[in-house]
């Protein structure tokens, strides 16, 4: 269960990072609203969320296995994030 939780949180972290990029920002808010300040905050939030998952995994599985697990969770979370972006873009195009 902890893996599902960690993947969901990491996917949110990746979504923060994606929304800080001009190419994907339009999926979340008008691309013109992506100010330098907002970009910085989104990047910081995304990085902190992803980094915090190391601590969660280290607490649950120990430092070594936790770090290995974290890499695996990031892989799946990134794929989930990209699929989420695809679905959202598809929905927006159909509207």
């Amino acid at each position: 269960m902890i893996h599902v939780f960690a993947i969901v949180i990491a996917a949110i972290g990746f979504l923060c990072l994606a929304s800080s990029m001009r190419r994907h920002a339009g999926v979340f808010f008008p691309a013109s609203d992506l100010t330098a300040r907002r970009k910085f905050h989104l990047r910081l939030a995304g990085t902190l969320v992803l980094a915090s998952m190391i601590a969660v995994n280290a607490f649950a599985f120990g430092v070594v296995v936790g770090l290995i697990t974290w890499f695996g969770q990031l892989t799946i979370a990134a794929a989930v994030c990209v699929l989420g972006l695809q679905i959202k873009e598809g929905v927006m195009k159909s509207l």
């Binding site: 290995i68 695996g72 969770q73």
Partner: protein
Amino acid sequence: MKQSLRQSMSVLHTWSGLIVGWLLFAIFLTGTCAYFQEEITKWMQPELTTHADSDLAAINAVEYLQETAPDAQTWFIGLPDDRKATTRLFWRPGENADPSAPTRAVLDGQGAAAEIRDTQGGFFLYRFHFDLHYMPAILARYLVGIAAMTMLIAIISGVITHKKIFIDFFTLRFGKGQRSWLDAHNMSAVFALPFFLMITYTGLVTLASMYMPFAITANYKSAGDFFQEAFFSPDNASPSGMPAEMAPMSDILRVAAQRWDGAKVGDIRIISPNDENAIVVLRRSTSEAIGDRSPQIILNGVTGALIKASPDQSAALATESFFVGLHAGRYADWGLRWLYFLSGLGGATMIGTGLVLWTNKRALKNQKAGKTPFGFWLVERLNIATLVGLPAGLAVFFLANRLLPLDMENRSDWEINFLFIVWAGAFVWAAGRPARRAWAEMLGLSGGMFLLVPIVNAATTSRNLFVSLGNGDWVFAGFDAAMLFFASAFGYAAFKCLKVKRPAPRPVLNKRAGLPAE
């Protein structure tokens, strides 16, 4: 003309990936399946329903060996655990033994004799990913090593080539032809990049002493001396010729439990059983820690007294043990095991999309030129045969497990033979058909084969998907569900393949008139 570093790396990436791509795909796919080798073996031995008890299995296995091979030189007992359902026995027969007599047996999870179908199960997939098949294992390991080293080159050159690694990180565009394949290739490569680097490098480490034997040959009389020193084994295990009664296995297991704070024993080796000099070597289960070189203890087989325990590993050996363990993932709980499996599938996807990309890039040019070079034709057919034919072969491997007669001679060999017959058949089929049709037909066939697996399982055993779900039998339910998932994925891909039309080549403009050239 002088090329930039990135251009040079691009060429290196393309050709290093292509030349060993099909072999790498097979290694990655079977190696990925091997993360669930025990679960696959369980599914392929549906007769077994007993709960595993490793201590009871050890005691009963020794009783079985006393009856079956009391004069053997060595007994080897692989114990069951939470994942392994069977007790696996091997023995080196005595000098006067009948050479045609069996030297191995499979007992149930409690060490009792059981009627189990002859199958190699998931163990075949595990062995195939580094020993291949139908060839000497040494040759195969060199081939696999060359492929792994080439993969390392392809990964590093790919990272240098991919100039927009961060900008394109979340980019996946569907329905854009070659661009979509490139996105899929980049995405699958970048997301699990740490895993690919780790799995390729540690894979090489597992066979490092074979690929780089120079330090051993320079410092030891023989490789055997090195392994004796590095991997701990009894000093003198030659039989005295004086018969003696063995110490009870329960006492021996108690010593191990005390020594390892209750950790499970993984396997037992008994040298010179029923002899005054009998020695018992116990190895801790590899699921207890990441390192694959588990600690061992050596006991007197007659008195049960501890003779010696493996010393603390040197830094070099501990590092090697960690790398091998990291590669094999035997320590992983079910969640991490799935992460290993999904990352491995990502690797197969990366290799597959890279191979398809090679043909896609050249297809339009060939279409314009109006001719298909033999190299292109061969790559396209090998792509179809390997990327779709091998998965179809795997599905047939599972089907053969259920459909071949139980009393068939060399049954387990024929399960494997069917895999390769289908794989080779896929190439023959692809060679005789237009590529696009062959893709769709083979994808459809693969989907159909995977769909048949749970259906045939339901028809030939009492453990169908619904019964398994009802019983909370997650191994059988998970396996059947995975087969249905792959059936859907291949079916969908076949459907898309039939629908997509290859773009017509752009007309070449007559520059002076601005009209299409004749």
